[in-house]
Symmetry: C2
Subunit: 325 residues, 2 copies
DNA sequence: TCAAAAGTGTTATCCTTACACCCATGT
DNA sequence: ACATGGGTGTAAGGATAACACTTTTGA
């Protein structure tokens, strides 16, 4: 059973901890003290100290950030060599298990700051994912031309079902295909493979310099943390539609417009007001508290609260907002 | 960066390799030479030998079974202590990364047998998941009474959103709720927690002996392999509906009835013939070859092939068969 | 009185579900 | 001829997408 000698392995638990600040989805970043790149909070997994991954994760997040996360979900386990270890490094191989966690912004940031952590708007890392103000200019100005040029020149990888050109079409919705806000990871991976983002160059890929200077595409992160964040955003955007996870991000009482803005912030899309209201009320996910919100520049809005009971009543209670609106 | 001494960790890649034999979904099992329990094929991950998990997985599957798997997808990473190591064992802690792989049955089984592996119908391990012949009698005869008794007596676990009673209702569809064929893992976990299956007793849980003798509920597997298989079935059942993965299990040419039987075998449900045909043709997933199948006891059926092009044409081409039919 | 946001009502369209029926082959 | 499975048409109901309009506040 002993087998040959293998490289030592460490398991790192990496958390994408999400909160909402009005209209901006926020992600907790850590270790940005000196000039080094920003990263997600990470902790090692020690099987002797913790019975399960999730317990270990909750413990180290609590210790490092004094945040209490509610919803926690495993995303994916990343083991690629080259994306984690620096080139030539002979350190123990680190496998990172990515997690998505949802929480609310803390009252004050002292505990966070003491731990060297803070919340950052997630669209700083993915500016092309925010379509609330219309189609991001960055797409046509920089991303699509560069990716298009790469798709023409780069040779097709073996084992891939589709050629670059088609993957691009599906992920970014050109040629009449719709933009699918859930394909966050596919888009990031294409940009990585094309050598258009900092992480790819750092990992030793060739810089793509097709037709002009290299525009930085979003802020980079340490190791493969931006990939984990992309996975987290994609999963959260998908999950919204079939599980009532938004409410983990909301205050106990909220207006329907606040709820809509939160959903829009996460999905990066504009939603149709009237239909959204009908949708929410139709699912029986919320109930009015009877109170009114002191208006923020208009007619006062009715306050609602999440009906926890639906969890036991309905099989799949999400906000199934559709493709168009 | 050195930190305290931690227990050594090994990463095991565990594969749920699925194929279809007429109407029976089959799972590849290994290591059933002596009288010991059946298990899924597993290989250790050595970061020095393989660049990614998936490459490592394909390599060891190829070596151990001489099977070429097509579609491969990571499922989940299981790290629970107690489900993997034998009680009191001080061996290196094993974390298992579960994978789902799809393939076709090999022409002859010599290579498989030489490796001590073979295909087994997966409903031997989950008899309550096959509803094609109507509601399985096992549910009302053994499972639901025992689970109901457990839900009454067992104390609620902290950190759980729902009490046992409601989890049971949702997972098994009592009280007018529909049976959801995708909740395979939830059902397995409830049976495990209730101490109704062999694995739970082996891990040191108390046997539940409410109201009669303990009926064995499906065949047990080594370690936590039945949990990984439950995850694989659940994922495959869900994925059928939004990705064209069935075709990885089909021959190059097939009749629509064969396709329907395959979908039914996986989902464990009976589907409505006419609507299924319309559904399939509507998605443009298949095209007629022009050939006819030599009839198997009735009118000859038209043969179809999978249109690979749809992958590049449509965003989400699955077989979205609905809730009822 | 006007801007801004909350909230209501109604219609056209498409997809899902369900049912009824006809067709081609082997025995 | 009849049993068996293959294959087609079409109507009812519900969900979605889109439209236009009224109400209540603060400045």
């Amino acid at each position: 059973m002993a087998g040959p000698i293998r490289a030592p392995i460490e398991i790192g638990l990496t958390a994408a901890i999400v909160a909402i600040d009005n209209d901006a989805p926020q992600i907790l970043v850590a270790g940005a003290r000196s000039g080094e790149a920003i990263g997600l909070p990470t902790g090692p997994f020690d099987p002797l100290a913790h019975r399960t991954f999730e317990i270990a994760l909750r413990t180290f997040v609590d210790q490092q950030t004094a945040l209490s996360v509610g919803y926690v979900e495993q995303l994916y386990t990343f083991g690629d060599r080259g994306r984690l270890t620096r080139a030539g490094g002979a350190d123990p191989h680190v496998v990172s298990v990515g997690y998505l966690a949802l929480t609310r912004l803390p009252e004050d940031n002292k505990a966070l700051e003491a731990a060297g952590a803070r919340f950052e708007p997630w669209y700083r890392f993915f500016p092309w994912e925010d379509w609330r103000g219309g189609r991001p200019a960055l797409l046509d100005a920089a991303i699509l031309p560069a990716l298009g040029a790469w798709a023409k020149t780069a040779r097709r990888e073996p084992g891939r079902a589709l050629p670059h050109r088609d993957r691009l079409k599906l992920a970014f919705g050109s040629d009449g295909l719709p933009w699918d806000e859930e394909k966050v990871l596919e888009r990031y991976e294409l940009l990585y493979e094309a050598g258009l983002i900092e992480e790819a160059l750092r990992d030793g890929r060739e810089a793509a310099r097709a037709g002009g200077k290299l525009v930085p595409l979003g802020e980079a992160m340490r190791l493969d943390h931006r990939r984990i964040l992309a996975t987290a955003i994609a999963r959260l955007r998908a999950k919204l539609k079939y599980r009532p996870v938004v409410f983990e991000l909301m205050a106990a009482e909220f207006t329907l417009t606040e709820l809509q803005h939160t959903v829009e912030a996460i999905s990066g899309r504009h939603l149709h007001k009237q239909n959204f209201r009908r949708l929410v009320e139709g699912t029986a996910l919320v109930e009015p508290t009877g109170e009114m919100a002191t208006a923020t520049g208009g007619r006062p809005a009715a306050l609602y609260r999440f009906r926890r009971e639906v969890l036991a009543e309905r099989p799949a209670p999400g906000l199934r907002f559709g493709a168009r609106y």
